[in-house]
């Protein structure tokens, strides 16, 4: 800080670190909170994996959580399942991808001093935080946390224990948070781009955040509406989702009836399908940055990727009912949604193909960030391609609600999105902290994660094709279908716990490097985008740049023939 009178004044601790309106501090708040929730959601899953591998055996070390016997009861298993999904998606991955990386790097990459609405930005973080706390409170109410699955299907969810009400209140807060965040992101990108930064000069990461923000803005409100309706059902005894003559525990439920459980599914998936693209698009954005930087080549087909991602965003609003082929909604509707689902796979393939071609003929720098980005490509490929049989109504009959589905979407989100987020952490850590991460630890982290994460999810395809249903408390032990594939449960569980251990080098690396890592240069990776070329590491509080840069060229001008170095910054005239 060079003593600029307009910005340089001492801020109190609270203003600077807790109720900050600086997008970088808020981004870090999002990042740290989301990483903690990510780890928490992972712990829930590790407990479930004990029950699946060794059904009804007392759990070592953590058995006290389930009472004297140390055995996990079915109700508890259901709670853990519902909360694992909720925590991972709404409290972990999306806040990390959008709240942390989006918040931190969108203003930097477009040459803006901050987000367009800094106070709104702070509000959206605290709504998210409050939503997280409310979700956690669920574990302590009678009957435990929500236990109707992360999808909260009624009628079950309508008559479930108090935890479901808490879950709904938590969701309303989280939805509010992402609505405020998405308004902020779109306004920032439209209004605050630096001089010369036209739409086709935006780094793809910014584009991905732009499309994502539209999905959040327009897909979340119907879920909020659905949440309000379910709250009405639970608190005011309405029957939005309860059909007439519903019998619960042998007695006719005393409600007016006339509602429809299918209505919830439509409203829920209208959000939850675009949500899939909310999870994957920012990941693609990060991978595009890392790939281009470490191949030292322009991203292949930049415009195709931009158009494809916009088309993807649009299409994601009209595919939702492919989650509902088995509900009996009719073959005409199924045919429509099957067709749109096949169409939406095209832009995903365009993006992935362009990324693969970007590798062609490059002299690749294999650093930790690049390894994770490279890992993303085949993993997302597996996740995407295994989705096709689920999108076709006929083959979905066999696969619906089996472990195949679990394997499919975890390949997209875990070794897909989360690997991309790791790539983002390794790539941008020097910018955020001014310190470098240890490369050796990073590579250990990558290779161990890569092996074990496949150990968890690959066997799920086998089990699922064999017909093992998801959400079975005993992992299929009492299920005739499962006998041949039951041994895989132990393989998956061991992989899960080892994957947990494989995160130790990462956590150690983060803390150690933050304290005593080597100092990073401002353009640590010889990159071309504004956050590296024009802002110091870490960027200046509240204004990012000494001088707001001007932009003269596209985002990925690497190895330009005739240039004196192998990267030409966007801000170089």
């Amino acid at each position: 800080m060079s003593g600029q009178p307009d910005t340089h004044h001492e801020e109190s601790f609270w203003r600077k670190y807790i109720f900050s309106i600086d997008h970088k501090v808020i981004g870090l708040q999002y990042g740290i909170t989301a990483l903690i929730f990510l780890f928490f959601g992972f712990c829930l899953m590790m407990m479930m994996r004990w029950q699946l591998a060794y059904p009804e055996q007392p759990m070592p070390w953590f058995g006290w959580l389930f009472g004297e016997t140390g055995v996990m009861l079915p109700e508890m298993y259901n709670s853990l399942g519902a909360m694992h999904g909720t925590v991972m998606i709404f409290l972990g991955v999306v806040p990390l991808a959008v709240g942390a990386f989006g918040n931190y790097f969108v203003p930097l990459q477009i040459g803006a001093p901050d987000m367009a609405f800094p106070k709104l930005n702070m509000t959206s973080y605290w709504c998210y935080f409050a939503g997280g706390i409310v979700m956690m409170v669920g574990f302590f109410v009678p009957g435990g946390a929500a236990n109707s699955g992360w999808t909260s299907y009624p009628p079950l969810a309508d008559i479930a224990t108090t935890g479901q009400t808490v879950w709904l209140f938590g969701m309303v807060l989280l939805i509010t948070s992402s609505l405020l965040g998405s308004i902020n992101t779109i306004t920032t990108i439209v209004q605050l781009r630096a001089k010369g930064l036209t739409w086709m000069r935006l780094p793809f990461f910014v584009w991905s955040q732009f499309v994502t923000a539209f999905l959040l803005l327009l897909a979340f409100p119907p879920l909020e509406a659905a949440g309000v309706l379910q709250l009405m059902d639970r608190l005011l005894d309405t029957s939005f989702f309860l059909p007439s003559g519903l019998i619960v525990s042998g007695e006719v439920l005393n409600v007016s009836g006339g509602g429809s459980p299918l209505l919830w599914q439509h409203m829920f998936w209208f959000l939850a399908h675009p949500e899939v693209y909310v999870l994957i698009l920012p990941a693609m954005g990060i991978v595009a940055e890392v790939l281009s930087n470490n191949t030292r080549k322009p991203l292949w087909g930049y415009k195709s990727i931009v158009y494809a991602s916009s088309f993807l965003g649009f299409m994601s609003f009209i595919v939702w009912a492919h989650h509902m082929f088995m509900t009996g909604m009719g073959s005409t509707i199924s045919a429509f949604f099957q067709t749109t689902t096949m169409i939406i796979s095209v832009p995903s393939v365009v993006i992935l193909t362009a990324m693969f071609i970007s590798l062609w003929g490059a002299s690749i720098r294999y650093n930790s960030a690049m390894l994770f980005a490279l890992g993303f490509l085949p993993m997302f490929g597996i996740g995407g391609l295994t989705g096709l049989p689920l999108g076709i109504a006929a083959s979905d009959i066999h696969l619906h609600d089996t472990y195949y589905v679990i394997g499919h979407f975890h390949y997209v989100v875990a070794p897909g999105t989360i690997f991309a987020l790791f790539a983002g952490v390794y790539y941008w850590f020097p910018k955020m902290t001014g310190k470098t991460l240890n490369e050796t630890l990073g590579k250990i982290h990558f290779w161990l994660s890569m092996i074990f994460i496949n150990g968890i999810f690959m066997p799920m395809f086998v089990q699922g094709l064999a017909g093992v249903s998801r959400r079975l408390w005993d992992g299929g032990a009492s299920y005739a279908h499962a006998t041949d594939t039951l041994w895989l449960n132990e393989v998956m569980s061991a992989s899960a716990w080892l994957l947990g251990l494989a995160q130790i080098p990462f956590i150690y690396n983060l803390i150690k490097s933050m304290k005593s890592g080597e100092k990073a240069e401002s353009n640590h990776w010889d990159a071309t985008t504004l956050e590296w070329t024009d802002a110091p590491s870490p960027p200046l509080p509240h204004r990012n740049f000494e001088v707001i840069p001007e932009v003269y060229r596209g985002p990925y001008e690497y190895s330009v023939p005739g240039a004196d170095k192998d990267f030409t910054p966007q801000s170089e005239a």
Partner: protein, 198 residues
Amino acid sequence: MEIPYNVEERQDTGMFNAKLGIWLFLASEVMLFGGLFSAYVFLRMGDVTGTFISGASELNIPLATFNTLVLISSSVTMIMSWVSLKLGEQKKFKTYLGTTLLLAGVFLVVKYFEYTAKFHHGIFPETSTFFAIYFTLTGLHMLHIIGGMVVIFYFLVPGSKMMNTESERFTNRIEIVGLYWHFVDLVWIFLFPVLYLL
């Protein structure tokens, strides 16, 4: 550092930040009410016992018509207050904005009598899916009215100092409030025929 285009328009987009912000917010609101209207359609299509027809016949159409007129008038006074501000007539601005607030209050009072009349006849949200969606939609709409009233009150009394210190910014803010208020008005224009007349 000041954030650019907070007050003045950006040339290539023709907007100041908050104007884009409020339009995006309204887009999400369209999806919120759109979701609920879709729920209405879905439930009505599955309504074999005719609760939607019999339910609608129990609603008070004259009162709702009166309320429709009240809200439309409040939208007119809202825009008049913005115009007055643009012309620099601060006194008129206060009168018009005050009238908007008053009309919003009238709407709520009428709605209160409608609600209590229903309760006296033993009609509650749990009575049928029609009344469930009726109370949800009108209740959510009322929350939007109350939210708008809070903001209007803020600009009328505690926040009105900005009128003299940063007049352009203040005018922008009133424009934003106006956009929101017209939207809330518009929602009612849809609610009225859908719930009362169909």
